[in-house]
């Protein structure tokens, strides 16, 4: 599932999922799920922690950091 004619790779193309943080339509498989609120988050908005490995949406990460 690689490059389509004029849209670029699928993981940058718009898809049926919508990022609650930025509102951008994207493909779920390109993104993550927030480990706190269980909402989807697109790969441009996600905040990743390496150790222990976890993905956060911007809202929950801000809340956790307080």
């Amino acid at each position: 599932m690689s490059r389509a004619a004029n849209e670029g790779p699928w993981w940058l193309a718009p898809g049926p999922e919508r990022c609650p943080a930025c509102g951008r339509p994207y493909h779920e498989e390109a993104g993550y799920w927030c480990c706190i609120c269980d909402r989807p988050v697109c790969p441009l908005c996600v905040i990743l922690v390496l150790e222990p490995a976890a993905a956060y949406c911007p809202e929950c990460h801000e809340r956790e950091s307080d």
């Binding site: 599932m1 690689s2 490059r3 389509a4 004619a5 004029n6 670029g8 790779p9 699928w10 993981w11 940058l12 193309a13 718009p14 049926p16 999922e17 919508r18 930025c22 509102g23 951008r24 339509p25 493909h27 779920e28 498989e29 390109a30 441009l44 990743l48 390496l50």
Partner: protein, 343 residues
């Protein structure tokens, strides 16, 4: 006239369907049961919903979303971006689509139905996303046969396949003469009650409470699912606000000229849902039109009519008069197509 797709060389590449504004399939491949092969396109049956909000300047120009390098602090083109993972702090391993697609080429283009299970046995806990299937080329007899058999037996065909770099467990269902797919979660993708730490049931149940609850359920019994209960109330309130402001002319901006041409070089597009459902229906109808004689999907209507020579702004005006939804987001060809469909 679209060229027949050559299967086998481009693994699972979803090629753009013929005609402007036509929906793109999510995945193309074959459904196999026994030695019967049915070439199909998968279309997603769900959408993100919600009222799209745009970020704008005070003048009403839509702000463009661009990719941004956090280190160099500059804009990026899509082809400067790749995917990868941080394996150690500061060390990244990148992967290309070609490498990933090559990992499971068979699984990426075939849904091989090995088992048929009673549909009612699939717990909704496992449901992920729904799709519908359109026969992608040639005779639809095998497609119809499978749809009918699944419907009549009340069974779903189960298989695993790879789509967008992820392996999915999938149930193929027949309903109303059409094949649908429902991706399912794997057993280890779902927590069990013990994993959550839910307590074990007690010896005695609070009978009074149970009885009261059961009585309430009986009183609330309905035969069918009322779609009205599933309306997006948050969106409705937002739409009401927008409509209220529009009717008072409050904060109303009429963007000048071709705001939409700029949309063509946007890196991060917005999709307009409203025209899409019509396209999906059309795609399904077209795919199911039996055409064993021609052996291929019906060609898109030729554009040799009064709209062919029109300028984009003129087409936009016509679309506005016809109240065609989503027109401000359409290209010239899409506008012409939409006007034709309206006739």
């Amino acid at each position: 006239m679209p060229e027949p797709r050559r299967r086998g060389d481009d693994a699972a590449e979803p090629e753009p369907r013929p005609g402007p504004g036509a929906p793109r399939a999510f995945w193309s491949g074959t459904i196999a049961f026994g030695l019967v092969s049915i070439p199909v396109d998968l279309f997603v049956a769900t959408r993100s919903g919600g009222l799209p909000l745009h970020q704008v300047t005070a003048a009403g120009t839509r702000l463009r979303r661009r990719y941004f390098c956090s280190k160099e602090e500059r804009m990026l083109d899509p082809d400067e971006i790749e995917r990868g993972r941080e394996v150690e702090p500061g060390r990244f391993i990148t992967v290309s689509d070609e490498e990933l697609d090559a990992l499971a080429p068979e699984k990426s283009r075939e849904i091989d139905l090995r088992r048929f299970v009673p549909e009612a046995q699939i717990d909704p806990l496992f449901y992920e996303r729904a799709y519908f299937l359109v026969p992608s080329q040639g005779p639809t007899k095998a497609y119809r046969l499978l749809a009918r058999t699944l419907q009549e037996t009340g069974r779903a065909g189960i298989a695993t396949f790879v789509m967008r770099g992820k392996e999915y467990l999938v149930a193929i269902l027949g309903a109303g003469g059409v094949l649908r797919a429902q991706t399912l979660r794997f057993a280890d993708e779902v927590r069990r009650p013990a994993d959550i730490g839910l307590p074990r049931p007690p010896e005695q149940i609070d009978e009074r409470c149970s009885r009261a609850l059961r009585k309430a359920l009986e009183q609330l019994a309905a035969d069918d699912l009322d779609r009205g209960l599933l309306a997006d109330r948050d969106r409705q309130r937002l739409s009401a606000l927008v409509e209220d402001k529009r009717s008072h002319g409050a904060d109303l901006i009429r963007p000048d000229g071709d705001d939409d041409d700029a949309g063509e070089d946007t890196d991060l597009d917005e999709t307009d849902d409203s025209g899409e459902v019509v396209d999906l229906m059309a795609a399904l109808k077209q795919g199911l039109e039996d055409d064993e004689a021609s052996g291929g999907p019906a060609p898109a209507a030729p554009a040799a009519d009064d709209l062919a020579g029109e300028s984009k702004s003129r087409l936009y005006e016509r679309a506005r008069d016809l109240d065609i939804a989503g027109r401000s987001r359409m290209s010239k060809d899409e506008l012409a197509d939409a006007i034709r469909q309206h006739r």
